[in-house]
């Protein structure tokens, strides 16, 4: 049995190899080394969410009708029977009430979309704060930001498709935002919507954009993103034996691949649990879109929230002159602001390299505390973003906490300009303090908790030198590396300066034979 399978496998492999010479490639790939760190899984979550989106989305297309043609609903959901609505809304009801397994697929799809964007954002923060975007990985950073922007568009297009009251309101806002563009605004809005709102074509147009155009581009960019990771090799945190010129980690086959493959199913499982147990976007409760209706507390999906917030905070500036109307009250928060934010994000690697005059290759990741300015800027940006998010829910906050919505809005307007700089300063200070704590550890070691009484009667706490495998984690600056090398000379704790080869045989040349007392720490290395 086994031998037959083996023979068949070998036969197939030989057949393929004879034609493609695949063995070399496969061998090289299976032996590829990936560094391990929990934060490297964040990008994986984004990738897996996208696969879940493709799977569930493909299923949904089999039932969804992307059409604004008016129909009278005649499905199972009794409260809406006989109500005129678009075919898009009716087919979404059909998926939710008349297709077995349709609702769970729809809900998994929606949850996966939220998690896709959430994991992209968190992954982006990891890359930012650890400096993984630096040379040679600026291109992959740009691809990542483009993926985020496309993800936002894709998400917005997706939740607009059901043509329910909530999404229709969102589309009308999108149309109005397009109208506000100076000079070409009305043209842009009319061309996209097929005429004056509602235009009668937007659902028909969003559908191919949502299921073909944008996902196709996203898929292509993800492929390119992965190829660059593969080719440039993953970054790693500083650690024993890790240098700028090597990768220390697990080979992809078999354990790493098993973990990554298993993780896909775990991510899928979590989304399924959410889709099965946590209701999301119950469009039958909102009702079909009606331009004269809106429900209070209309919030978009979370990733649009910051733009909703900026729109709410904006003062009502509008200029009417020379026969034209110009609307900064719409243009600034909905187009200029995201334009600036995403442009800054796209060019950040180049801006940082310019200001720090850093042209070197970087394969070792930074600890955020070691780059206080960057960490401060990142924290500042998060603060700015969070305030906008809060502003996007100002009506909800006002209701829950029984506060005046006007006061919340005024407060947030001020906070938007005051809080981020404060966060910047505070973060920088925290970084410097953490650096000092690290220096303390390196110079003086760990407080052992053992109190000793000196013959003179004085009590002192004994300090144990930091074990070298921990010390090396902290050796992130040239000064500290020098200090460690100095300590190593004194105490014989050498940091291996160079790692050779893929494996080293037992008895390979060691720079410095290590003292045996460190043996006891082996078990705790990982």
């Amino acid at each position: 049995m086994t031998s037959i399978a083996e023979k068949a496998g070998a036969g197939t492999a030989t057949w393929v190899d004879d034609r493609l010479g695949s063995s070399n490639f496969v061998k090289r790939s299976l032996n590829k080394v990936f560094p391990d760190h929990w934060s490297f899984m964040l990008g994986e979550i984004a990738l897996y969410s996208f696969i879940v989106l493709l799977l569930t989305g493909t299923y949904l297309t089999l039932f969804f009708e992307g059409s604004s043609r008016e129909v009278l609903y005649n499905g199972s959901y009794a409260p809406l029977k006989g109500i005129p609505m678009s075919a898009a809304y009716a087919s979404t009801l059909h998926i939710s009430f008349d297709v077995r397994g349709g609702l769970i697929m729809r809900q998994i799809h929606h949850w996966a979309a939220l998690l896709f964007l959430a994991s992209i954002v968190v992954h982006l923060m990891r890359v930012f704060f650890t400096g993984a975007f630096r040379k040679p990985r600026e291109l992959n950073w740009i691809i990542g930001v483009l993926l985020l922007i496309l993800g936002l568009l894709e998400g917005f297009a997706g939740y607009s498709l059901p043509d329910d009251l909530l999404s229709g309101t969102g589309l009308r806002i999108a149309y109005s935002i397009a109208l506000s563009i100076p000079v070409i605004g009305t043209w842009a809005a009319f061309l996209v919507f097929g005429g004056e709102y509602p235009g009668g074509a937007i659902i028909e147009r969003l559908y191919p954009i949502h299921i073909l155009l944008v996902p196709g581009i996203i898929l292509g960019l993800i492929t390119f993103h992965m190829m660059l990771i593969w080719y440039q090799k993953h970054t790693q945190f500083a650690g024993p034996g890790r240098t700028e010129t090597n990768v220390v980690g697990s080979r992809i086959y078999p354990a790493y691949a098993a973990k990554a493959g298993g993780f896909f199913f775990l991510v899928f499982g979590v989304m399924t649990a959410l889709g099965g147990l946590a209701q999301i976007n119950p469009i039958w409760l909102y009702g079909p879109y009606d331009p004269s209706q809106v429900s209070a507390g209309s919030q978009p999906d979370w990733y649009i929230g910051f733009l909703d917030g900026s729109t709410r905070l904006m003062p009502n500036w509008e200029i009417s002159a020379l026969g034209h109307t110009f609307s900064p009250n719409v243009l600034l928060p909905t187009q200029v602001l995201p334009g600036i934010l995403f442009a800054l994000m796209l060019f950040y690697p180049f801006l940082e390299a310019k200001f720090t005059k850093d042209k070197a290759y970087h394969n070792l990741l930074d600890r955020p505390r070691d780059k206080p300015v960057r960490t401060g800027l990142g924290a500042m940006s998060i603060a700015f973003y969070v305030i906008l998010m809060i502003a996007g829910g100002n009506d909800i906050i006002a209701r829950i906490f029984a506060l005046s919505i006007n006061e919340i809005t005024y407060t947030l307007r001020v906070a938007l300009f005051i809080v981020p700089p404060l966060v910047y300063v505070a973060t920088k200070r925290i970084c410097y303090s953490l650096q000092r704590a690290d220096d303390e550890l390196l110079h003086h070691g760990i407080e052992s908790g053992t109190i000793r009484r000196l013959p003179s009667g004085e009590f002192v706490e004994e300090v144990v030198p930091l074990p070298s495998q921990y010390a090396v984690l902290l050796a992130t600056t040239p000064e500290r590396k020098e200090l460690l090398a100095h300590q190593a000379q004194e105490h014989g704790h050498a940091i291996s300066s160079k790692q050779r080869g893929f494996f080293r045989p037992r008895g390979g040349v060691l720079e410095t034979p290590a003292p045996s007392e460190d043996k006891q720490l082996e078990g705790t290395v990982d």
């Binding site: 806002i173 890790r242 147990l277 209706q293 809106v294 500036w317 009250n329 003292p515």
Partner: protein, 373 residues
């Protein structure tokens, strides 16, 4: 399991050619005994970094692996997780068929959660099983791989430039300037080709005229949401009613929805030019927000404020619906109404200015004269 790794690594196949990228995955992996001196060599003798026991190792059976779980226990746990998937799949199929599904049937609301629970089990079983297997039973050695330099050598770069230059020269372009120019013109003009097609996306409409017009006409009755004409006296003081023009499709027209508000006539401040736009404390405003077009229908009786739930613009209904708060910059347009012979409200004409959000072609000033067309 580790046998296979050892075989693979020490077999001739393991001696593959050095790949171009520079993975130094060759000679060193042929050593018979896989122990590695990596970084930790700095503080310990050469040691194996394998995180899991090898099958022929001292703890091959019943031994304790890196995770503290015995191999037997780990195998059992992984197998159970894989079987959990089977249970999940069976449960999923059973629920798919057996749980009541049709809307309104008893317990139909359990259909989706039941599918969700079993599908989750099916997925998590395989996923957790694979991860646990990898963590407890697979040999996972920490390995060092050299990075290959990304930049090409200077010679390689120079060679590439030379090839490019040679090829360019061979095209004859440097000598035949006309070819280059005409190619740029011809091929470049292709970029313009799709532009006309963009304009097929919408029929041409005069923007300002289109956006200035709604379905309201002189004499249009004010219909409520159910299509009944609204009469003087239908509304109490302090009451509001959504009204729509009495034309085909008026109920669904995106720009025509309006709100009839009744307040005490003495509370209502009206400009002199609009004195005859209101009737006995009844006033009608467009509900399309002048900010981003959401329906502004939340009316606060005491303050006469109209509130937009989308971005919280607030308008003073008692005073020409001027914006009091929020991002909206302009008043809600007012519809001039009168009462016909039978006591029904009718519009005197269309709005005198475009309803809804601002746009570039919107003229700064509009007159208060109602066109009776």
């Amino acid at each position: 399991m580790s046998d296979s790794i050892r075989d693979r690594l020490s077999s001739p196949g393991g001696h593959g050619e050095q790949n171009g990228g520079g993975d130094s995955s060759k000679s060193d992996i042929t050593t018979s005994d896989f122990v590695q001196t990596d970084s930790r060599s700095s503080h310990g003798a050469a040691q194996t970094i394998a995180h899991a026991p090898t099958a022929e190792g001292p703890n091959a059976l019943g031994g304790v692996g890196a995770s503290g779980m015995s191999e037997r226990g780990a195998e059992l746990a992984v197998s159970s997780l894989f079987l959990l998937s089977l249970v999940g799949v069976i449960g999923f199929i059973v629920c798919y068929i057996a749980v009541p599904f049709d809307y309104g049937k008893a317990n139909y609301e359990w259909y989706t959660p039941a599918l969700g629970v079993f599908m989750t089990l099916a997925l998590v079983g395989v996923g957790a099983g694979a991860v646990l297997w990898a963590k407890t039973l697979m040999v996972d050695e920490e390995t060092v791989q050299e990075r290959h330099p990304l930049a090409s050598t200077d010679e390689s770069k120079a060679e590439t430039v030379a090839i490019l230059k040679e090829g360019f020269d061979n095209t004859g372009l440097p000598r035949r300037k006309v070819l280059g120019l005409t190619m740029a013109l011809g091929a470049g003009s292709l970029a313009i080709l799709p532009i006309p097609l963009v304009f097929s996306l919408a029929k041409f409409q005069h923007k300002e005229r289109t956006l200035s017009k709604t379905s309201w006409k002189a004499g249009s009755k004010l219909l409520d949401e159910l299509g009944r004409p609204v009469k003087l006296g239908d509304l109490e003081v302090g009451g509001v009613k959504s009204v729509f023009p009495d034309v085909p499709g008026g109920r669904r027209a995106a720009d025509s929805a309006a709100l009839l508000i009744r307040m005490k006539p003495e509370d209502l401040k009206v400009k002199d030019s609009r004195k005859d736009w209101v009737q006995d404390g009844h006033i009608v405003y467009s509900v399309i927000c002048t900010h981003l077009g959401c329906p502004v229908k939340l009316y606060e009786q005491q303050t006469h404020h109209l509130f937009c739930p989308c971005h919280q613009s607030t308008f003073d209904a008692a005073n020409g619906a001027v914006p009091l708060f929020g991002p909206a910059a302009r008043s809600l347009p007012q519809l001039a109404i009168s009462v016909d012979a039978d006591g029904y409200f009718v519009a005197q004409g269309d709005f005198t200015e475009p309803v809804g959000p601002s746009f570039w072609e919107r003229k700064p000033s509009y007159s208060d004269k109602v066109g009776k067309a």
